[in-house]
C-alpha cells in the first residue's frame, strides 16, 4: 500500500465561531485532533456539526477563531489550498466524469503526472473494492458504490485530514452497517486522520476514537465512546446517548455523589453527574435497557402499561405514571397494555442532572 498520508501532528480548532447574521451557529468551538485519530462530531440536526466541518474544509469562512495544522494557520486559506479530503453527504460525485476520473480529479488538479495518477487511482479503486466499475458514470452506480467512489476520491490525494459529512445517511439500514464496517476497515488500513459528522449515536460509538457532542453550536462533551456512553456529563449528552427516560423530581438528600430523588412520591436513588442541592429540582435519566418491569420496592415506580412490542429476546414497552411521566422499559415477560406494573432501575444506572437554567428541557 503506497497511499501514504501527509505527515503532521495535530489539527487544532481554536475557539472557532461562525455567525449567520444574528444566529451563532458555532460558539468558541475548540478541539485538537491528533494524527491518526477518528473523531466523530455528534449532535442533533442544527447543532452546528456540519457547520464545523464546512469551516474546517473552507467551504464556510469562520467569523471568529482560527484553525491550525500544526504551526500553519489554515482558516484563511481557500478550500482548494487546504488539501483536505472530503466525503459529502450526497457524495457530490461529478456526474459527467466516470469512476476513474472522479477519483483522479484531485490528483489532476494538483498537476500530477498521468502515470502517477493512474497508479494511485488503481490502488484507491482496489482499496475501496470497486474493481470492474472504473468506467461507469456515477448515475450508473448503486448508492453503496457511489459511497465507495466518494471515499476513494477523498483518500487518493493523501490528505492530512479526511472530512466526512454524514456519509451514510443516504443508505438503507443494511447497507449502512456494511459501509460502516468498510469505513472502519479503510481507517484501520490507512490510519487517516478523520473528522466524521453524524447524528447517529451508534455510528459515532462504533467508529470513533473520540466523540464530540455538539448542541446549539456549543461543545457539550468530548470523550471516548465508553466515557460518553457510561458517564455523560450533561443532560443533553445523556439524551443523545440513549437515556430516553427522563424523570423530573426533587432532591431529598445527596452525599458523596449519591442522590435520593422524590419522583411522584416514590424514592429513586441515582448517581449525581452535576452539582445538585437538597430541595432543588433535578432529572433522573435512565436507559430503557436499565428500566425493568419488576416487583414493588425501593427504586420502583408504579405505572400503567400503554404498549408492548416483541423484540426477539425480550419485550420493549411504553408506560405512563399517574403523574403523567412517560417511560420506555424492557420486560422479560409480555405484559398486557392497561395493566399496572412497577418499573425499577439499579441505583448505579440512574444518572441525576441538575435542572437546566431557565428550565430548558
Amino acid at each position: 500500500m503506497t497511499i501514504a498520508l501527509s505527515q503532521f501532528n495535530e489539527v487544532r480548532l481554536d475557539r472557532v465561531s461562525r455567525d449567520f447574521g444574528a444566529l451563532n451557529a458555532l460558539r468558541d468551538v475548540s478541539l485538537t485532533v491528533q494524527r491518526g485519530e477518528f473523531i466523530a462530531l455528534l449532535g442533533p440536526s442544527g447543532c452546528g456539526k456540519s457547520t464545523t466541518l464546512n469551516c474546517v474544509a473552507g467551504l464556510l469562512p469562520v467569523t471568529g477563531g482560527a484553525i491550525w495544522l500544526d504551526k500553519s494557520r489554515v482558516d484563511t486559506l481557500r478550500p482548494e489550498e487546504r488539501g483536505f479530503g472530503m466525503v459529502f453527504q450526497n457524495y457530490a460525485l461529478f456526474p459527467h466524469l466516470n469512476v476513474r476520473q472522479n477519483i483522479g480529479f484531485g490528483l489532476k488538479m494538483r498537476g500530477r503526472p498521468k502515470a502517477e495518477i493512474d497508479r494511485k487511482v488503481d490502488e484507491a479503486i482496489s482499496l475501496v473494492r470497486l474493481g470492474g466499475q472504473e468506467n461507469k458514470l456515477p448515475g450508473q452506480l448503486s448508492g453503496g458504490q457511489q459511497q465507495r467512489v466518494a471515499i476513494a476520491r477523498a483518500i487518493v490525494i493523501e490528505p492530512p485530514l479526511v472530512l466526512m459529512d454524514e456519509p451514510l445517511s443516504n443508505l438503507d439500514a443494511k447497507l449502512r452497517l456494511e459501509m460502516r464496517a468498510e469505513i472502519r476497515r479503510i481507517h484501520n488500513q490507512l490510519g487517516a486522520t478523520t473528522i466524521y459528522v453524524t447524528h447517529d449515536q451508534d455510528e459515532a460509538l462504533s467508529l470513533a476514537d473520540r466523540i464530540v457532542v455538539l448542541k446549539d453550536g456549543i461543545v457539550r462533551q468530548v470523550g471516548t465512546p465508553k466515557e460518553l456512553y457510561d458517564a455523560p456529563t450533561h443532560l443533553d449528552v445523556a439524551d443523545f446517548m440513549g437515556f430516553r427516560n427522563r424523570l423530573k423530581g426533587r432532591v431529598i438528600s445527596h452525599e458523596n455523589g449519591r442522590v435520593l430523588l422524590d419522583v411522584e412520591g416514590a424514592q429513586i436513588g441515582g448517581m449525581a453527574r452535576e452539582r445538585v442541592s437538597t430541595g432543588s429540582s433535578a432529572y433522573a435519566s435512565i436507559r430503557p435497557d436499565d428500566l425493568v418491569a419488576g416487583e414493588p420496592g425501593p427504586n420502583a415506580l408504579a405505572v400503567t402499561v400503554d404498549t408492548i412490542e416483541y423484540r426477539g429476546r425480550e419485550f420493549v414497552g411504553t408506560a405512563h405514571s399517574k403523574g403523567g411521566l412517560d417511560f420506555v422499559f424492557r420486560s422479560h415477560q409480555e405484559v398486557a397494555p392497561g395493566s399496572p406494573i412497577h418499573l425499577r432501575a439499579d441505583d448505579s444506572r440512574v444518572l441525576v442532572f441538575a435542572e437546566p437554567v431557565q428550565g430548558r428541557a
Binding site: D14, P61, T63, V222
Partner: protein, 303 residues
C-alpha cells in the same frame, strides 16, 4: 490529551473580505457586474434619456408641448383607441381559445408535435406572417377561394389592408404565445389535486371551477398581461397588412413616423413614453386585480 484547553492567543476579528462575503459579496458576485452595467447603459439609460427628451420639444414651446400636441391632435391621440381596439379583443380571444385547448392538450402524451407546430409562427415572426397572410387572405387567396367553393360567400371577403388583416396576424402570432404560456401554467398544477377533487365528487366543470381556476388565476393574469403587451406593440403587420393611414394606424406607427419621417426624436420619445405608460397602466390594473385571488405556491409552474 487536553481537548478543551483555551488558547490565550488573541484572534483578530473577521477581515473585510470575510465580512463582505458573509453579506454575499465576493469575487463570484462581481461576475454580475458586466451584465448589470450593460443593462443600465442600454436599457435604463435610454429609457431615462427618452423620458427627459420627451419634455424638451424640438419645435420649442414649454416642456409639456409634445404631450399637449399628442392629446390635442386626433391623428395622434386616436392611435391609443385604435391600438386598444385591436389589442384587447385579440388578447381576450387568444386567452379564451388557449385555456380549453391547454386543458385538452395537457392530457396528450405527445404534446411535442403540436407545440412545435405552434412555435413556428412565433419563430418566423410578424413580417413573414404579414407577407404570408397578404397572399393567403387576399381576394384571390386560398382562404377566400375555399369559402367561395364551399358556398359560404359569393364575393371574396376583404381581409387584407384593413382591421381584419391585422387582427388575423395578431391571432396567428399571438395565439401560440398565449397558448404555450397557458399550457406551462396548466401542466404546472399537480394532477393529484384534480384526482383528489374527483374522489370528493366534483365533476369536470366543478373541478375546473373550484380547483384549477383559483390556482391558475395568477398565471392567467400574467399570461393576459404578456399577450396584451405584445399585441399592443403591433407594428410591422399593422403597416403591411392593415391600413396604416386609417383604422390600423396604431401607436407604434405614430412613434415610428415621428422618429424616422419627421426626425423629431423628442416627439417620438413622448409617444414611446405614452405607449409605455398605457401598457403599464393595463398591466398594473390586471395584476392588482390578481390580489383578489389566491396567490400561493400551488402554481408550481417553475422549471
Amino acid at each position: 490529551m487536553d481537548v478543551l484547553a483555551p488558547t490565550p492567543a488573541v484572534i483578530a476579528g473577521p477581515s473585510l473580505r470575510q465580512r463582505l462575503a458573509s453579506r454575499g459579496f465576493d469575487a463570484v458576485t462581481l461576475l454580475v457586474v458586466p451584465a448589470a452595467i450593460f443593462s443600465l447603459v442600454l436599457f435604463v439609460y435610454p429609457f431615462a434619456f427618452g423620458f427627459v427628451l420627451s419634455f424638451e420639444p424640438k419645435a420649442g414651446g414649454d416642456w409639456l408641448a409634445n404631450y399637449r400636441r399628442f392629446f390635442s391632435d386626433p391623428f395622434l391621440y386616436e392611435t391609443i383607441a385604435k391600438t386598444l381596439w385591436l389589442a384587447v379583443p385579440v388578447t381576450i380571444l387568444n386567452l379564451l381559445l388557449a385555456v380549453p385547448i391547454a386543458f385538452r392538450v395537457r392530457l396528450m402524451r405527445r404534446q411535442r408535435l403540436l407545440t412545435t407546430i405552434l412555435v413556428l409562427p412565433i419563430t418566423l415572426g410578424t413580417v413573414l406572417v404579414a407577407e404570408g397572410l397578404l397572399n393567403y387572405l387576399g381576394p384571390q387567396g386560398w382562404f377566400n377561394r375555399t369559402l367561395m367553393t364551399v358556398g359560404l360567400i359569393d364575393q371574396p371577403l376583404k381581409l387584407v389592408h384593413n382591421y381584419w388583416g391585422v387582427f388575423a396576424s395578431l391571432v396567428i402570432t399571438g395565439f401560440p404565445f398565449t397558448f404555450l404560456l397557458t399550457l406551462s401554467y396548466v401542466t404546472g398544477i399537480d394532477p393529484a389535486l384534480e384526482q383528489a377533487g374527483a374522489t370528493l365528487g366534483a365533476n369536470a366543470w366543478q373541478r375546473f371551477r373550484h380547483i384549477y381556476l383559483p390556482l391558475l388565476m395568477p398565471g392567467f393574469a400574467i399570461t393576459f398581461c404578456l399577450s396584451f403587451v405584445q399585441a399592443f406593440s403591433v407594428f410591422p403587420s399593422a403597416v403591411l397588412l392593415g391600413a396604416p393611414a386609417g383604422p390600423t394606424r396604431v401607436i407604434s406607427i405614430a412613434a415610428y413616423q415621428a422618429a424616422f419621417e419627421e426626425y423629431d426624436y423628442s416627439m417620438a420619445s413622448a409617444v414611446a413614453m405614452i405607449m409605455g405608460f398605457v401598457q403599464l397602466g393595463i398591466v398594473v390594473a390586471v395584476l392588482a386585480s390578481r390580489g383578489l385571488f389566491y396567490r400561493g405556491p400551488a402554481s408550481g409552474a417553475k422549471g
